[in-house]
């Protein structure tokens, strides 16, 4: 069996993890020694890049890199209290926005050169607007409007919007990318996209627990492209732990102890439709104008409510993924007040039940631990699938 030792040797190899999965006969366990976001900020700066904090969840990684920026994503974090954020947002605002604001106000990402808030939903629109207009956080606030369709007009607009973002980055960073910069950025980021897709493709043959697997998937949120590619490539092949196969949908699986609980309950996550995971399985095109290429990458993702995909298309993809991976049920795991997710739930449930799959929907407030009531519901759901 394998022991995960994901260590970073940033000072030696420009944020490339030195060692990942080592053989160890003592059974499967995780010692995730990945660097934290703050360590990454320091190392990014040391290696000549400018760190930019990015809110969820579609954004142009290669464009940032070509302009000399490195993204560090903010999905809460769940262990930061809502207090400071609550001075700007009402109690019915989603945890990601409120806790991310708290985190920024507490200096959690002091030293970033900019904050990028993609227009993912009304809550993030509100955050971009409040932090941009009322200035509770120091760095310049950049926005990116993501079109809600895949029509030619949407693509054309997105290309122009990306050019606008690039101009703003040039202003902050003072760097206009050369052809070489673009090529280098696409080379690294496309490889990391492929590495993420490869992880999913190889999943049934990876000797990793769900917690380990998603620790690696989510490392894409802050590691450099090279570090992530190396990390993803190091997950050893072998027999994954057993369990009732389920699919997971939602925005973000926080707290990550969810996976430990699922394992104890006898479930195994074999596929996902997570905003921080499977919905970012892009199919990056090769070559062409860098802005068009970047737009096409974002538009190539799977059906997604935040990009206006029809519910039927989303349901069809879920069914296809579940059939392909043998998942018996779908756990819809939503952050409270997440309208893009909540509107789809009844129709997704009805389509999947028609196809013979079990469905459970839970709404959670982000925190360091899941409430017992939620765990009991999930446990009962897993039992029904067994």
């Amino acid at each position: 069996m394998h022991r995960v030792v994901a260590a970073i040797a940033a000072t030696q190899t420009n944020l490339r993890p030195a060692a990942f999965f080592d053989e160890n006969g003592s059974g499967m366990s995780v010692t995730a020694q990945l660097p934290n976001r703050r360590e990454i900020l320091t190392e990014v700066r040391r290696s000549g890049y400018r760190p930019v904090a990015v809110l969820p969840y579609h954004y142009p990684r290669a464009l940032l890199r070509a302009h000399g920026f490195h993204p560090v994503e903010l999905w809460g974090p769940p262990d930061v209290p809502r207090d400071e954020g609550s001075r700007h947002f009402q109690p019915y605002t989603c945890d990601i926005v409120v806790r991310a604001t708290s985190f920024l106000l507490r200096g959690g990402l002091d030293g970033v050169d900019a904050l990028l808030v993609p227009h993912t939903c009304d809550a993030l629109q509100g955050m971009g607007s409040v932090v941009g207009d009322f200035g509770p956080v120091a760095p310049p606030v950049l926005t990116l409007y993501l079109p809600r369709g895949e029509r030619p007009a949407d693509r054309e607009f997105l290309v122009a919007e990306l050019r606008r973002l690039a101009a703003a980055l040039e202003e902050i960073g003072g760097r206009t990318p050369s052809v070489v910069d673009w090529d280098e950025a696409f080379g690294a980021e496309d490889a990391a996209d492929r590495a993420l897709a490869g992880l999913y493709d190889r999943r049934a043959g990876l000797a990793a627990t769900d917690r380990e697997f998603y620790t690696v998937v989510r490392a894409r949120e802050y590691l450099t492209a090279e570090a992530f590619s190396a990390l993803a490539g190091s997950v050893p092949e072998g027999e994954p732990p057993g369990g009732v196969p389920v699919m997971l949908s939602g925005i973000v699986p926080e707290p990550m102890t969810l996976f430990d609980h699922l394992a104890k309950m006898g479930a195994r996550v074999v596929a996902d439709d997570l905003a921080c995971g499977g919905r970012r399985r892009y199919d990056p095109p090769a070559g062409g104008d860098p802005f068009e290429r970047t737009a096409d990458r974002i538009l190539s993702g799977p059906p997604d409510p935040t990009r206006g995909a029809p519910i039927a298309a989303r349901a069809a993809r879920l069914v296809e993924q579940m059939e392909k991976t043998g998942a018996r049920g779908l756990l819809i795991y939503d952050v409270k007040f997440c309208e893009p997710e909540l509107f789809d739930v009844p129709l997704l449930r009805s389509r999947l039940v028609e196809e013979g799959f079990g469905v459970l929907h839970v709404e959670v407030e982000m925190g360091t631990e899941l409430p017992q009531q939620t765990l009991t519901r999930i446990e009962a759901f897993v039992e029904t699938l067994q």
């Binding site: 009304d122 509100g126 607007s129 809600r148 607009f157 122009a160 919007e161 029809p310 519910i311 509107f343």
Partner: protein
């Protein structure tokens, strides 16, 4: 178009229905004329125009009951470019207006619960839950809503409408046309944003033509835009008359008279209605009649109304000498008028439909409130923190701070929900409003 449907439309709507509603209006007007003025009431008698407004809205929904098979039916969001569909003679339903009507008539909670029983979370917009409840049960205070042949969704008020209309598209199996309007973080829209919206507006035409089975007429479209502009200008004039002291109307009056400018913008009858309403308001000003008998405090309202409390809140405030003279919400349908240009229909509409206050940043909204406080000489601001409308509400905490600290007026954040009465705590709200009125009195 079936002959049976046409006959029903003719008999039930055009002949019997309209005649009965006209008779009812005359009866209401006569009753209003005969009603003695009660000097003990804090509110002066309602506008006589209310009877005509009720007639128009009733006719609209009555026609809706019989529209299927006679006219193509479109359901559109309140900020959508309906003028294009009007030019193709679509019968238009605004689900948000229907939901508000359900809220005002206290039907919304039961409909929300029907949607919740079907799995829709209580945390999603109560307008959406109300209308989904109607779609699932068929229950509505207007008798029947005609199912849509086309859905037109414009994101200039929120992204919620897109999630909601995706559900409707699935339920009714009809085409959904999207007009995606980039959120305005800046004062002026950028050229690529205008081009994007314009292209989408133009792309509505072939889809709508196909559904309607007729050709789009640029000439007719220009007429509709000109009519919509005229009605919007009159609406703005009406609202601006509340600058007068005492204000001849309250924002609560404006909330209830909003129906035609939302639902029937572009119809000559709507323009005529607002013209006569403006004349009535001018008569009030000439006679020195205020909407609140003893107007001691003038207040600005932010966000949607609390539909199920409009009457009681209006009376409660009036009894304390408070006139809510203006609202950011009702102004949204008026302030677009100057941007409309019948000589550049699609170009000007692209700018118009990106401009609603809900599509602009929190800072721009604070600027708008600051300006309105000055123009309407408001002594305070009530910001309805609307659990259901996150895009309107997020930012209000900083806006309130800005109003208090920069403008120097008391500002209250009032927790409620525009359509779901379960999110409104009567006693708590009354306590906070009492304290707010006291602050203005100091």
């Amino acid at each position: 178009m079936s002959l049976g449907a046409r006959l029903r439309h003719l008999a039930a709507y055009r002949l019997a229905g309209r005649a009965a509603l006209a008779l009812n209006r005359r009866r209401e007007e006569r009753a209003a004329d005969r009603r003695p003025v009660d000097p003990t009431r804090a509110l002066t008698p309602p506008l006589r125009s209310s009877a005509r407004m009720r007639q128009m809205m009733s006719e609209h929904y009555l026609e809706g009951r019989h529209a299927s098979g006679v006219r193509p039916v479109a359901w559109v969001t309140s900020g959508a470019p309906a003028e294009i569909l009007k030019a193709l003679d679509f019968f238009i339903i605004y689900p948000e207006n229907h939901a508000a009507l359900c809220g005002a008539r206290r039907h919304a909670q039961a409909l929300c619960e029907a949607a919740e029983d079907a799995g829709y979370s209580r945390d999603i917009c109560s307008y959406a839950r109300t209308d989904i409840g109607t779609a699932l049960t068929g229950n509505t205070p207007v008798g029947r809503l005609p199912p849509p042949d086309l859905l037109l969704c414009c994101t200039n008020i929120c992204q919620t409408v897109l999630y909601w209309y995706r559900v409707l598209a699935d339920h009714y199996g009809c085409p959904l046309v999207l007009v995606d309007t980039p959120f305005q973080y800046r004062e002026t829209p950028l050229e690529h944003e205008v081009a994007y919206v314009r292209r989408q507006l133009e792309e509505i035409v072939p889809v709508a033509e196909k559904v309607a089975g007729r050709r789009f007429s640029e000439e007719r479209f220009t007429e509709v835009v000109a009519e919509a502009k005229a009605a919007s200008e009159l609406w703005l004039e009406i609202l601006e008359r509340a600058r007068h002291r005492p204000a001849p109307l309250t924002a609560f009056d404006a909330f209830t008279h909003l129906g035609p400018i939302v639902d029937m913008r572009g119809d000559a009858e709507t323009t005529g209605y607002y013209r006569s309403m403006l004349a009535e308001i001018d008569r009030r000003i000439a006679d020195g009649v205020g909407a609140v008998r003893e107007e001691r405090h003038r207040v600005l309202w932010d966000n949607l109304p609390i539909w199920y409390r409009i009457g009681s809140l209006s009376r409660w405030l009036a009894e304390r000498g408070v006139n809510v003279v203006a609202s950011t919400y009702t102004h949204a349908w008026g302030e677009l008028a100057p941007l409309m240009d019948p000589s550049d229909t699609f170009g000007s509409m692209a700018r118009v439909y990106m401009h609603p206050i809900l599509n602009r940043s929190a800072g721009q909204k604070l600027d708008a409130m600051r300006r309105m406080v000055g123009e309407f000489e408001a002594d305070g601001v009530i910001l309805h923190s609307d659990r259901s409308c996150k895009p309107y509400s997020l930012g209000q905490i900083d806006q309130r701070d800005g109003l208090v600290n920069q403008v120097g007026v008391p500002a209250l954040l009032l927790d409620a929900d525009h359509n779901d009465p379960r999110a409104y705590a009567e006693e708590q709200a009354a306590g906070r409003l009492e304290a707010f009125v006291e602050m203005m009195a100091r």
